[in-house]
Structure formats: structure tokens, C-alpha cells
Symmetry: C2
Subunit: 407 residues, 2 copies
């Protein structure tokens, strides 16, 4: 008999409990393990909840109960999640989590602690919601070399960008709509600033390349500056604007990691990912291009990944040897994103073709309906952003937008 404790009873926590009991019989039969939820750690008093009799407020009850073999941390945030998870692991209890901030900022130390205590720290639900990406990345690609991991990792921003593109909706209106539909939080900063995508690409990059990539090392740009004009010009270039989180191995062996809006060309699979859906593409040396697609958030999609991790923890034989990475003490292995050669889209105002040619050389002009005469959108051929920024500093016109082209 393995007993489970759930820490946190918000959206994901209650979804986890609901889904576990829905599939409990099938799970126990398939896994040949007797599983049950014994405790739910929750600070609120919820006497009307059907699981009220399992609710506790003291983490020590979980830590001191030898029956508890698996703990699901679905509180979110670093505090007190990090402290609680560390204490569970040092007590030899496997932890599964949906908490991307925890994994992105503390993954290496938590994985090390799990290994030292012969238990597991699993986090399939932390990235891509229901999409199986963590386990395929480390298990199925064990015999391959990963060149890049790239994706649309935040559903809220993808919904907003879809509305800007397909309905020509201004950014502020699209954001408001996504709040009304319950996709964006009241304070949408973590989504629209790119911070949420940054945490997720840190997790994927750490797993794919074997060393912890910390969020503060990642060039991160959100979607708050995107104009609907940009979406129109992108269309003229047969592409769409997407918030792309990316980690790539460079020729010099370093890893380039970034989160930023990019013009994604229509023949790239990511260009077709709309609304709140997420997708991750992985390029492996042997496997070639792979893509994983699905709902990146939501109560039951995320809970399905948490319960699947509980199932894996229940039948695991000691610490996973593949779902792990080393800590990194400095960012020497992270490349400067601005030093990678790329093509760029630029939207400029108050200038002319002569000044543009003088600053950027030959460019490809794009056009849109009702384009004002003083507005110019164009593609600068492959260059580094360092070189481009130098050209921009010598350019007299006003730069409104500047985005990388993702071919």
C-alpha cells in the first residue's frame, strides 16, 4: 500500500484529487499497486468539501507518516513549496509537481536530493500541461543528440496573438478577452512578460542538454509591444507572430536560450498552433524533427499529468537515472542570443527608402492595406543582433518593432 499526500487544493490540486478517484480502480489494477490519497494539505477550512476528512494543515503529519510514499506538490510558487518539497525528499518520499517556478529555479538541488534519498522528483505537469514532453524527452530520446527544443509554451499569450492576427484585435482588447475567458490571471504579468515561458524553456533546456539553465540567464521579451500592424506585415511575409521559447546548441557547443516574439513562417509546424494550445518541437540528430502538441494548461489537462507522474512514482524502482540534470555554477555554457545569425523583421517610421538602404543595405519590403507613407516594414537578411543594433544606432528613423524570423 502506497499512500499519497496532496499539497495544495486549488485548481490543479482539486483536479488531481478528482481525476485520481475517477481512475483509482483502473490505476491500481494496471499498476498492481494499492494506492490511495491519505492527506490533503490545505490552509483553508473547507468543511463542505467531500474530502474534508483528509485535510490537514501541518506538513509534519505528512513527513512523519511512513505510509506516505508519494507527495504531489500543486501549491505553486517557491515559498513554502521549496521548503516542503525538500523536506519530503529528505524523508525519502517521492514528489511530483506541476510547479514550473520550483523546477526552473530549484530543479538541480531537488533532483540531487531525490537521488541521495533514493526517491523521485517528477514534473511532467510543469511544462506543456497535458502534453507528454518531459518523459519522451529523456526516455525516448536517450539514444539521440538533441540539437534544439523550441515551442509555444504559454497558452494565454498564444490566445492573445491569435486574436490579434485572426481578428485584427488590438493587444489590450485581446488581453481583456483572455481575462474574461479565464485564461489570463487578473495580473497577467507572468504570461505577457514571457516569464512563464522562460521558466518552462529552462526546464526543457536543462533536461535536453543536461545542465541547469537558470531563468535569469535567459533573454526574455514578452508580447506587450506587438502592434496589429506587425501581424499584418507578418501575413504579407507568409508568417505569423508567435511567442517562441527556444533552446539551441550552437556550433561552439554553447546553448542559446531565449523567449521572444518571432515571425514564424507558415511551413513551420509551430505556425499552425492557435488559441490556448501549446506545442514543442524537438530536433534530434537521429530522430529528426518531432513535435508534441496539446493543451498547455487547465485543471484536468494539468491534473492528468500529475496523476500520471503519481503512477510512475508508484512503480518506480529507485531514482530515475534519466530524468535528471547537473547543477551549473555559472552561465559560461549559455551563448549570447544576440550573437546568433538570424534574419530580422523591422517596422520603422518617419524615414525613407534611402535612409533604410544606407543603414541596412538591401532589404525586402513588406506592405499592408492602408499603409501610411511614412511607415516601412522590411526584412533584413541574416545578421547578428549585435551587428543589427549597431546599424540601428546609426539609423535616423524611428524603430517601432524588431523581431527575429523563424524559418
Amino acid at each position: 500500500m502506497s499512500k499519497i499526500a496532496i499539497m495544495g487544493y486549488g485548481t490543479v490540486g482539486s483536479g488531481t484529487v478528482e481525476l485520481f478517484y475517477k481512475h483509482k480502480d483502473k490505476l491500481c489494477r494496471t499498476l498492481s499497486v494499492d494506492l490511495d490519497i491519505k492527506y490533503i494539505l490545505e490552509i483553508r477550512d473547507l468543511p463542505d468539501d467531500p474530502y474534508y476528512n483528509k485535510m490537514i494543515k501541518d506538513i509534519n503529519i505528512i513527513l512523519d507518516d511512513p505510509e506516505i510514499k508519494i507527495v504531489a506538490e500543486v501549491m505553486g510558487g517557491l515559498n513554502p513549496a521549496f521548503d516542503f518539497v525538500m523536506r519530503c525528499l529528505t524523508h525519502g518520499k517521492s514528489v511530483v509537481t506541476s510547479n514550473k517556478e520550483l523546477v526552473a529555479k530549484k530543479g538541480a538541488i531537488l533532483l540531487k536530493t531525490a537521488a541521495e534519498n533514493d526517491c523521485n522528483f517528477f514534473f511532467e505537469a510543469s511544462t506543456g500541461g497535458a502534453i507528454p514532453i518531459i518523459r519522451p524527452l529523456h526516455e525516448c530520446l536517450a539514444a539521440d543528440e538533441v540539437y534544439s527544443v523550441e515551442g509555444i509554451l504559454n497558452g494565454t499569450t498564444n490566445f492573445i496573438l491569435t486574436k490579434i492576427l485572426s481578428e485584427n484585435m488590438p493587444y489590450e482588447k485581446a488581453l481583456k478577452l483572455s481575462q474574461e475567458l479565464g485564461y489570463a490571471e487578473k495580473d497577467p504579468t507572468a504570461d505577457v512578460s514571457g516569464a512563464d515561458s522562460c521558466r518552462k524553456i529552462c526546464i526543457l533546456a536543462s533536461l535536453a542538454f543536461g545542465k541547469h539553465v537558470y531563468p535569469e540567464w535567459v533573454y526574455t521579451e514578452g508580447i506587450t509591444q506587438i502592434k496589429k500592424e506587425d501581424a499584418e506585415y507578418a501575413k504579407a511575409y507568409n508568417s505569423v507572430i508567435k511567442l517562441i521559447a527556444s533552446a539551441k546548441r550552437c556550433d561552439n557547443g554553447k546553448i542559446a536560450v531565449s523567449v521572444r516574439p518571432e515571425l514564424v513562417c507558415r511551413d513551420n509546424q509551430l505556425s499552425g498552433v492557435i488559441d490556448v494550445f501549446n506545442a514543442v518541437t524537438v530536433y534530434g540528430e537521429a530522430a529528426g524533427e518531432l513535435m508534441f502538441y496539446g493543451r498547455g494548461a487547465g485543471k484536468l489537462p494539468t491534473a492528468s499529468a500529475v496523476v500520471a507522474d503519481i503512477a510512475c512514482a508508484a512503480i518506480a524502482d529507485g531514482t530515475s537515472r534519466t530524468q535528471t540534470w547537473e547543477d551549473s555554477t555559472d552561465s559560461d555554457f549559455i551563448a549570447d542570443s544576440k550573437s546568433i545569425p538570424e534574419a530580422f523583421y523591422i517596422l520603422a517610421k518617419n524615414t525613407g527608402e534611402g535612409a533604410i538602404k544606407a543603414a541596412f543595405g538591401e532589404v525586402l519590403y513588406l506592405s499592408r492595406e492602408n499603409q501610411p507613407p511614412e511607415e516601412f516594414a522590411f526584412i533584413v537578411p541574416i545578421t547578428t543582433e549585435i551587428e543589427l543594433d549597431e546599424k540601428i544606432s546609426n539609423f535616423g528613423g524611428e524603430i517601432v518593432s524588431k523581431y527575429v524570423i523563424n524559418g
Copy 2:
């Protein structure tokens, strides 16, 4: 020390050996297991091969060697593969395979034999090449109920259909091109008849729904009858023709399984899968829509899945409790595909709108450039194929094509 034997040294076999030695050090370090290939079972004499010293011709050498813990079967076909794999499993050696015919026809007995001998029978490479789909399906979706599994599972036919659609190429010419490019075999029957896709959907359906679905129970139709006119009319309906392999749970609990060309609407993710790429969509009750996309065939993509299975077998603790299904003694649980309500596309000749209305009621007409006056393409609203066939039998005109609409 776990020693490996490779049975078969064709395209996938030699790719497996190549990839294994390329990543051997990383694999052994990551898995903390000492792995090496000891034998390659191959009927040909290949004295110039760098691995000639490992080559043997007698299966008994593998069976009698207690050092051999893992065998990769990459010969293909049922004979002698089934006999060899059975003997390996009864000797307690885990087997990994890329052989879809073997798994589709003999999966249940091989899984049972593996369980009885406390070893594993893995087959990630049998379906979708490099795409991780077998392991995600049974591991990550353990806590979900799968409604449907549907996909483009044959790269050759998808290449041919892409050429017909995008370059208006006739079927025969597209087939010839795919043979020249090495995608289709000299005898392309297994691909173009749908038999290859049928085997793969049997594997996915068996895993998703827990009971062995045998190929002879699956309604299977190939692409040899598709006209380029069909592709043009599909375009007018904002859809593309794809060979879709599908397994769905019906309202009555039965499973509908089919392989057939379908008109896939543009907002379905599968519509964008072109050339030799494969993709599988999975609908889970909790997870919602998921898609897995990548190269479904090829030497290194397939080998990467074989070596990943070798890695999993090397660190497995006894028989997998989730990657398995029960045998089925009859097809009672398989629904008649013709009894499922669907919308249909029909191409008819030598008829008129009056006769069409009399036979099919109100339909939606499609048009194409240079459409001859006696040619009619139209969409029949949702009905079962049984009912539709009855209407067709009372219809005076000539039916050229009839395909299901996949919305």
C-alpha cells in the same frame, strides 16, 4: 554487464548498431549500466563489415548465452521473427522490435510470454518511427480515458497524396517519384493498400483500449483509387485528402477502427502534415487533444526508437505493468465502421442535380476549374455509410469516389 544481440542487419539493424556505438558512452554513463552489443544475427556473409566479428548465423548462440539480456529484433516479417522472439522471451531475454507486422499480429501472446518470464517486449519503433507515441500513450495517459487515436501512419502514401494535392500530379506519377526517392518499395502494395497503416493502428488501438485488435477486423482502404479531381474538390471544401488510420470508442462502448482516405478539414492538425511525415492525435477525457508528429520511417529515426527501447529494457525492473494489453478471442468489441454517422464527399458522373437530389436529398455542391458538365462533387450531410450505400444503390449515376469527411 548487459549484453545485447541484434537480429537482422538490414537498414534498421545497421542503423541500430551505428547509433548504439555513437552514443554508447553517454548511454552507459546516464543509465549506470554497462551495455555492449555481443552478437549480430545475420544470414549473409559480410566479411568487410566492421562488426563482422560479432556476426553469427545460429539463434541458439543467443538463446544459450546467459550474458545476453536484451535482443533487438529488426528483421521484419513474421517468419522467422515470431519464432525467434518467442524463444528469446521464454529464455527470459527482453526483446525490443521495430516489426509492426509482428506486434499487430502476435502482440498479445508476446506480451503475455514476456510477463510470464519477467522480461519485457518493447516496440516503440514499430509505430511512428522516431515519434515517441507508444510510451507516452501508456505512461503519460495512465490516468486518463482515451476516446480516440487517429493518425497519418504511413509516410509513403502521405508523400504521394502531398504530390497529388500540391502539384496536381497524377497518382501513378507520384508513386513512381516516391519509388525513385526511396520512400516506396519496388512492390508498394503494403503502403498504398493501407495494410501498413492498418498494422500500426492495430498496435495503437490495442494499447489505448487494452484489448488486441487484429488486422483482419479493421476496415482498410488504400489510396490507389484517388483522383486528382478529388484533391481539387477537397481544396474547394477547405480540406485535404489524407490516408487516416483511426480507432475510436463509440457510444455503445465498442471500438471503431478503420484505415481509409478521408477529407481532412484545414483546422484539423493532421491536415498540415505533409510529405513523409507522420502524426498521431490522441483525445483523452482529461488531457483533451494531443498530437505527436515526426518522421515515421527511415534508418536513423527508426534506429533511435530501437536504441531508446534498449535503454529502457536495460534499466527496467521486471515486466512493464502498463505497456501491455489482453488478448481478444473474438471481434465482438469492434464496431462496424459503416454504422458510425459521418458526413461524406461524393464524386459522381453521368447524372444531374435532379437525380442527386432524389437520391441524397439536399447536398452541398463543390466546384473546380474546368469542371465537365456531367461531373458533380458534393457533400452529403451526416449519415451512416450503411444508409448512404442504400441511397447509392437507388442512384442512377456513376459514383467515382466516396470519402468520409474528417472535421
